[in-house]
Subunit: 604 residues, 2 copies
């Protein structure tokens, strides 16, 4: 078993040197938190990970979960972890003091989340979902709902879920049919089925609180007729006792990976006795849910980077310890001992690829978290809009790049181990199974790509792209002051121009009403866009490293850390950024109606 | 469960229309086989698949295999399948009559193998390994060995294996340490450990025959001191009774996928009582084994394409039946019923990608099989060398492309199903786990890539590339006669020039003695090369389809089949071939020593 799953040094580099957490902490909102407190939180995350998460990663996977006699049973260590999280106050880390939280910056909860997710991604889902659903209630619920639910959720006594997906609708939320009938007693009567509800039921929690999307009788068709309800598994009767609320678990899906987290299929109101309480106003459910979904999208991106991190360190450890073969230049020296496989160019490439994905992805997620923090704390309305615009633009990318490239990254990690990587003797095969869900959770890559191109780019008339260009310019300006970074500055500037060209062409198609065609290759656009964005993040990190080397005279491990950052940036620009060329060729190919107009009968 | 796992129509198109099996069958060697016989063999393969393989695909995976009290237990249906294969004469299909086979062309066994491997890839391993190891004995063994072993193996009474890998050596075969001590009784005494020996032991077979690499005492270091031995689990005593041969199963590896096939760790000669019989001459073992490995490499490529085929049809069926969302142009029509997901551009793209990988990969494997058939049957020595040169060049590509792109293809198949694809309710998650082994089996992608660039390209002084260019020219000449194919002819010709440029640059580095640098990006060269080779195969198929449409006036399903071929070729040229641009940029970047000279300490 690998010993390391994430680099704390890297997280601190991102927090302190790249994204300047001190600047964020200067806001009066964070007056109670200083950098020392941040370090203590990271220590606490490591402590929980090392005690409750990492040691049980494989064991919990093998145990899976069971569903018998209507009861879902999960591994007992998960229950212990959930309790520990509630006790440590981690679940409401970023909640305001008013809502019972610790009022921490998102950047800090991203860092602690990365640690725990790298240690055991599936188990972390339980508390992540409770946090997200409690945050919905805290943000939009009535005083009564807040009082009844958030406390119990933040203390981890009650499990929260997000209950969106229905069997007949899937990603198409506008086709949700679960219904809510008003009563004169303050609650609604809910009826409907939900599937894939992660941690949606299990023995060992006192209650499960579903944040459930449904239509109030007579509501408009489509997304504008969807409301949000709190639907607990057990509700309080007049005497405050918890009684059955007619939410029945019909089954659990068994999955290829993330087996720790049961994906529940539940039926509400089969006996016409399921009570739900409206959150906020009627028909605004989806806009509320989007708050949670946006947080969750960053969470899924973080999960992707974190799993890839664990796989990276597992394969790095193996590569440093496994002797096999000889260097090309020493092939004929049969009597020499074998070299460690890390000395083979192809293995170095696979390791650098992983490092570039993990640390590039984490950097983007920290960037987004910083925008979220600044958006909330700035008092300048123009600045606030700018941060919001950037966060909106980059959220689908910060979800998708660590998912899609994380999947490839773990695969390269497995490949470093050869046949051993495919066996259950090493954790790579589990990382490989686990991470595959990240390109599906919270909107598939196809959905994220449409969000990016249609809503975030075209929907803002290209303004968001201008905001991004300004952010990139800050980095290229700084990087240009170092001679050996200039080559990469030029490369990034050129790619940014390419991005504008491609975007203009697609925008032009859309203006001509050819919307179907303009969006047909949105998924390719996402990859194209992501590679440029991650190059920006790498140049940013390399510039900080360069500056530290020039001004600080670091030595030993510290020097190697910075050199490795610059080296990995070079890798990304040399091996990954050129992939934009092929993508651009396809995206600029006006003529083609390959995937739009082809009849389905031609796909046989 | 999906109903279709492979297209028989496509296999017949490849055999009859693209690769002209009739020409091969004209050889006197195949006098006993005609096209009717070929069709009967395909029918028999479908029959065995439908009875013994496809229905048990999931069940056998779930059962895995067990190892208790030294005994390996596999699913009973596997035993029935093996028996059926022996009875049907499938194991020795391509063996000569002299060796008890059916003397069939490789193209035909590739077609029947594709069917069965698509139906249940892991189970097919058992008979594939018996065939490969029996073929080694038939080709290089003494008359006595042949008499004792091949009959029992072709009838499926005895299981065969290829026993190469050792714990301390892995891919580095020159570091094998298993030893063989001569005796004066005709046999050697074997001692050593082998790991990852697929189907290396199980209850239900009468005997297991390991084709084991080992060093005769005093043999030279490196690959030139390796000999090949027949080492049965049970050997005959003087009375012809089978007795223990001191080959002990120490354990089985449990794997992420292909769980049907136990990967055995065995120890030979622990009690100094393991007899082995030399195959052919001493110290030539590796050259013999390469025959089997080359066949096996095509077999692994075929497995990749076959698994991707099963995943493709499972996702195609789902996409045709699953309503979800609305087309972009109909987004506002909330009251309209949902459309089938195959009508979404992104889903079409994912399906076309899969089809292009499956049918492009199969086409290349059939091309290689045709070269193998012609190499064996032609009486013209110059032609024979040409076919051999082409087969040698393309074998690592025909192994690697269907593996690496097959892995991506199955992933896109899973993505078509969204969350359902990740559950055990659909076969995609198993395809996803199963296919991942193909980039590791029979030499990892890194090893195949070094074989391609160092041995097959540089080692022939570029002659092999000239042979390939001539083959491509035959296709472009023919395709040029159709106006609407000309665009693709030009594209392929340009890419072939790019290939020559890149190859010259790398060859130049090698000539200057910078071999380590020249080979550092061999894996990228492999992908670059593969994309061009598969484009050639797609233009070939499209030209045949075009010709059939122009000359044959096909209608209905037949017309759609041809149109779909042309469409998929267009897809491959538009979406996949441009990936060469990014790869070329990296491969032409002379300056860089990114993965060669970087110290391992810089990868942290």
């Amino acid at each position: 078993m690998a010993k390391k799953y994430i680099s704390i040094e890297n997280l601190k580099f991102l927090l302190n040197e790249v994204f300047n957490i001190e600047e964020v902490l200067e806001s009066p909102y964070y007056a109670e938190t200083d950098t020392e407190a941040v370090n203590m939180i990271l220590d606490a995350a490591v402590d929980i990970s090392d005690r409750h998460l990492f040691p049980f990663y494989t064991e919990i996977d093998r145990a899976d979960h069971t569903f018998e006699d209507g009861k879902v049973t999960i591994h007992p260590e998960i229950i212990k972890y959930i309790k520990a999280m509630g006790e440590a106050g981690f679940i409401g880390g970023s909640f305001s003091f008013e809502h019972g939280g610790q009022q921490l910056p998102q950047m800090v909860t991203a860092a602690s989340g990365a640690i725990m997710s790298a240690a055991n991604n599936g188990v972390v889902m339980f508390t992540g979902l409770t946090a997200g659903s409690a945050h919905l209630i805290a943000s939009f619920g009535s005083k009564e709902l807040k009082e009844k639910y958030t406390g119990k959720m933040l203390s981890s006594e009650w499990q929260g879920t997000m209950a969106l997906t229905e069997p007949q609708a899937g990603s198409s939320l506008s086709d949700i049919v679960s219904s809510a009938t008003p009563t004169d007693q303050g609650h609604y009567k809910l009826k409907g089925q939900k599937i894939f509800i992660s941690s949606g039921d299990y023995e060992g929690t006192e209650n499960v609180v579903h944040l459930m999307l449904a239509r109030i009788d007579g509501a408009p068709l489509g997304t504008k007729g969807i409301s949000l309800f709190v639907v607990p598994k057990l509700r309080e009767d007049e005497n405050g006792n918890l009684i059955d609320n007619d939410v029945t678990t019909a089954g659990v899906y068994h999955k290829m990976g993330q087996k720790s987290t049961p994906a529940v299929h539940y039926i509400a109101g089969d006996n016409d006795n399921c009570h739900g309480w409206l959150v906020g106003e009627p028909n605004k459910g989806l806009s509320y849910m989007f708050q949670m979904m946006n947080e969750a999208r960053l969470g899924v991106g973080l999960m992707g980077a974190a799993i890839a991190s664990a796989a990276y360190y597992a394969s790095l450890e193996y590569a440093n310890e496994r002797p096999q073969g000889r260097k090309i230049s020493e092939q004929s020296a049969k009597d020499k001992p074998q070299t460690f496989i890390i000395n083979h160019a192809d293995v170095k490439r696979m390791l650098l690829f992983q490092k570039s994905v993990v640390e590039g992805g984490l950097s983007l997620i920290f960037e987004c978290s910083r925008y979220a923090d600044l958006e909330m704390t700035t008092e300048d309305e123009t600045a606030r809009k700018r941060y919001k615009g950037l966060l909106d633009l980059l959220t689908p990318v910060a979800k998708t790049f660590p998912a899609e490239y994380g999947i490839k990254s773990v695969s390269e990690g497995m490949q470093c181990l050869g046949g051993f990587g495919y066996t259950t003797d090493f954790p790579l095969e589990q990382h490989y199974r686990d991470i595959r869900i990240t390109s599906i959770y919270e909107g598939t890559t196809g959905i994220q790509s449409l969000d990016l191109l249609a809503r975030k780019i075209m929907g803002t008339g290209g303004k968001s792209l201008m905001l991004l260009a300004e952010e990139v310019k800050k980095v290229t300006d700084e990087a240009s002051t170092y001679d050996d970074l200039k080559k990469y500055v030029t490369a990034l500037q050129e790619k940014l121009q390419d991005l504008q060209k491609v975007t203009q062409q697609l925008g032009g198609m859309a203006m001509q009403g050819k919307m179907e065609l303009a969006l047909a290759d949105a998924t390719l656009y996402m990859e194209f866009f992501s590679l440029i964005v991650i190059s920006w993040q790498w140049l940013k990190q390399a510039t900080v490293a360069k500056k530290a080397m020039v001004t600080g005279n670091p030595e030993g491990e510290k020097l190697k850390f910075y050199e490795s950052k610059i080296h990995t940036m070079r890798y990304f620009f040399s091996y990954e950024l050129p992939k934009t060329l092929g993508l651009m060729t396809r995206l600029m190919d006006k003529d083609d109606t390959l995937t739009v107009e082809v009849e389905k009968e031609l796909i046989v």
